[in-house]
Amino acid sequence: MKKFLLTKKTMIFILAIFFFCCPLLLNRYWVDVLNNVGLYALLGLSLNIILGDAGLFHMGHAAFYAIGAYTAAILNTQFNIPILFLIPMGGVLAALFGAIVARPIIHLRGDYLLVVTIGLVEIVRIALINDVFGLTGGANGIFGIDRMIIGGVKIRKPHHFFYFIYLFMIFTVFIFSRLKQSRFGRALNYIREDETAAQGSGINTAHYKLLAFVLGAGWAGMTGVIYATKMTIISPESFSFWESVIVFMIVILGGSGSIAGVILGAFLIIGLPEIFRGFAEARMLVFGGAMMLLMIFRPQGIIESVPQLYQIRNR
């Protein structure tokens, strides 16, 4: 058993090294595709806490993504605050926004919550188009967002972003997988399984659901900042309801609750259509069909969330 785990670990390690050499072998276009996959994977991972772990049907994730991106864009273009500082700041503001909007709707269940969160993402998008407080630049958006400078290197080429995004992803996976194996992660799972029983076992369900929203929103906000500096120009249409649907699909299709599943989901949903671009219109048809079949025959997603193993001592 131990030997098997070791080989599995080394295999992942080798794959990771190979993956990190990708930018050397691929052209700019494909590296950029991988960057998009990475951004969506980050969004998927942040939604996974809310949707996969806590089981809250939230289809307005693009709203938090937008808050992060616009925070960075406004503060950077108006006050010249460096983007690197704005990553945590965008996260905090998105988390704050998440806490404020989630608090009154947190008691809603299933489909009711879904409808409300769809409304949320539309409200944010329309507010951005209408140029609230004269800050968001209306339908044109904001342009001229700075690049990051890390250790004297300006992060601007696709392969720069590749390393930045995937290192941030490793950090995210590290944090989130540890959260899963903790009191916090278990509490979310109990809520997903049976909220009444969770409460009856002494879990403050409203508190944990709110925490899930805050954490998910914060991470989506940080991803939004990275998106803003990658594009240098952002506009409301990047944060439409459709974006929320895509992230939702990534989580459900990849395997809700499974970190590996969500990352795979991002590769399939964002990466595959690019690979089959040559087939023009037919690719979306095939893609849609494949998705339906998958949901019929494997509703738990491609990679199922693995049950956690516990080491029992003194037995």
Binding site: G185, A187, E193, D194, Q311, I312, R315
Partner: protein, 264 residues
């Protein structure tokens, strides 16, 4: 001092009075039974005690502290644990994870120590695992701690629920029909288990339809019918109480004046 005290508790659902002016008290480490015909309001009383429902009037005290009106998870923290009439386990999680849910309220590691797995996190996790295993061993399910809850037999699912409740380190445990769906053999060992819970100094309040179990384990019994308390006493007293017999079997007078019977 009483462990649990209900003072003229009333609960209405719209126009329906589900529980009306019910009062009783339970001394510490006693096994008390709550019985009555179907729909008498027994489970409603449980839901009032655990804070699942808010009450319309009256008071519920737990060791002289008013607990009516505070949220369920706080009541669990104070020391009242429960099981459900319709089993409510986390079906897709393993037995040990189900029981760890009970340990949750006795841990206090926050989100950041969870994120970075600090030393405090490890210490608490190990402690919780020990406690959860102890709880599973107590009900006799420690061998299958990795089995998913949904794969347990009906009787064992009830035991697992009791283990989860015990893991909260309660002072009072509330069992809603613990023998429901159990065979004779399982019921017999349940009787032993309930007595064993009592020896730990835990007060037990239970609803049960299996009269053999009630009469064997309960030291004191409260009978409710149509939301009102109609009798209270030892098993012997309850068995011979005419009001109780009437509630369960109906009286002659009832059948004579029953309009349905008149028609035929």
């Amino acid at each position: 001092m009483n462990c649990l005290q209900l003072r003229e508790v009333t609960k209405k659902f719209g126009g329906l009075v589900a529980v009306q002016d019910v009062s009783f008290e339970t001394p510490p480490a006693q096994i008390m039974g709550l019985i009555g015909p179907n729909g008498a309001g027994k489970t409603t009383i449980f839901n009032l005690i655990t804070g699942n429902y808010g009450l319309n009037s009256g008071q519920i005290l737990f060791y002289n502290q008013i607990i009516s009106g505070i949220p369920t998870y706080r009541i669990v923290e104070l020391g009242i644990a429960r099981t459900f009439q319709t089993i409510r386990l986390f079906k897709n999680l393993s037995a040990i994870e189900n029981v760890l849910a009970g340990c949750h309220c006795r841990m206090n590691s926050g989100i950041f120590s969870s994120m970075f797995h600090t030393r405090k996190h490890h210490a608490q996790e190990n402690h919780a695992l020990d406690r959860a295993m102890k709880s599973l061993t107590f009900v006799g399910l420690s061998d299958c701690y990795e089995l998913k809850a949904k794969n347990f037999s009906y009787g064992n699912q009830r035991l697992l629920e009791i283990a989860r409740a015990l893991a909260t380190s309660p002072k009072l445990i509330i069992l809603d029909e613990p023998a429901g769906g159990m065979n004779d053999q399982e019921t017999l060992s349940l009787i032993q288990l309930i007595k064993k819970i009592q020896t730990q100094g835990i007060t037990v309040l239970l609803i049960e339809h299996d009269m053999r179990l009630v009469m064997q384990v309960c030291e004191n019994i409260v009978v409710v019918d149509y939301g009102q308390k109609i009798a209270e006493g030892t098993p012997e007293e309850i068995k011979n109480n005419p009001k109780v017999i009437k509630a369960y079997l109906g009286s002659d007078m009832d059948s004579n004046t029953n309009p349905v019977n008149d028609k035929f």
